[in-house]
Subunit: 164 residues, 2 copies
Amino acid sequence: MPWTATPDDDRRFMDLAIEQARTSWDEGGVPIGAVLVHEGRVLAAGHNQRFQQDSAILHGETDTIEKAGRLPAAVYRESVLYTTLSPCIMCAGTALLYEIPRIVVGENRSFEMSEALLAERGVQVDVLDDPACIALMERMLAERPALWSEDIGVDEGASTKGAR
Amino acid sequence: MPWTATPDDDRRFMDLAIEQARTSWDEGGVPIGAVLVHEGRVLAAGHNQRFQQDSAILHGETDTIEKAGRLPAAVYRESVLYTTLSPCIMCAGTALLYEIPRIVVGENRSFEMSEALLAERGVQVDVLDDPACIALMERMLAERPALWSEDIGVDEGASTKGAR
């Protein structure tokens, strides 16, 4: 029988993603973290690297998938991706490429860009609406707005694309 | 007046992308290359790094965007992305995140996964149907099929997703 995450599992893995987000914040970066889980085992944990590695493509989710290394297609298809913030379309596209069937999202109040596309293509997206994730993004928007705007490809001061 | 690529420009930049693809093949990797151009100037050139860096996320296009570094939103929005093969949905998502308005594709006979999505969202996709790009992929499919299947997230020997 394939592994199915319980609500307790979701909580535990989201807490790991939040830890990653906090680490990134402490490093001066964007506080978004993620964890990739297969059969209840953490394959990799990562966080946004825009500031730390001057990266345009290492968001929380892509950094995590990169850190998980080269995996067989079958592993991605049985994995769950946990992320503190609703994925941008680059990260959604990455999940769709590898056919990751479920994404657990910390919150989507601060930013939401791809959930309709993911749902359309059969990905299960579960949003926890987690206060800790919301607080991380509120601090980001208040204290590092330019870094955040850069991270989602909008001009400094512009409103976030697709934000609710 | 904003810069507009002529057909000669397209040819020249696609040739640079092909050079990148050939370099990747010679290194033992996936022969897909890309170039990002702004106002007629090459910002970065890159190629697939699955084999070379054991990377799950550095395709030709994402490697190129990563190599271009942290750019202002306005630069992406005036840039053209040249790629030897029609982009997968991860790379299409990356172009959509940064609102790159035009993608010039070497060929889409070997693989096509995202052109409808790109067109839907207003990206101009021009396909050159270039024999050199087709030949690169034919050799790849014949000589390194497992590496290619891994690169697009399908099991070894499975048919390519969305392939025509």
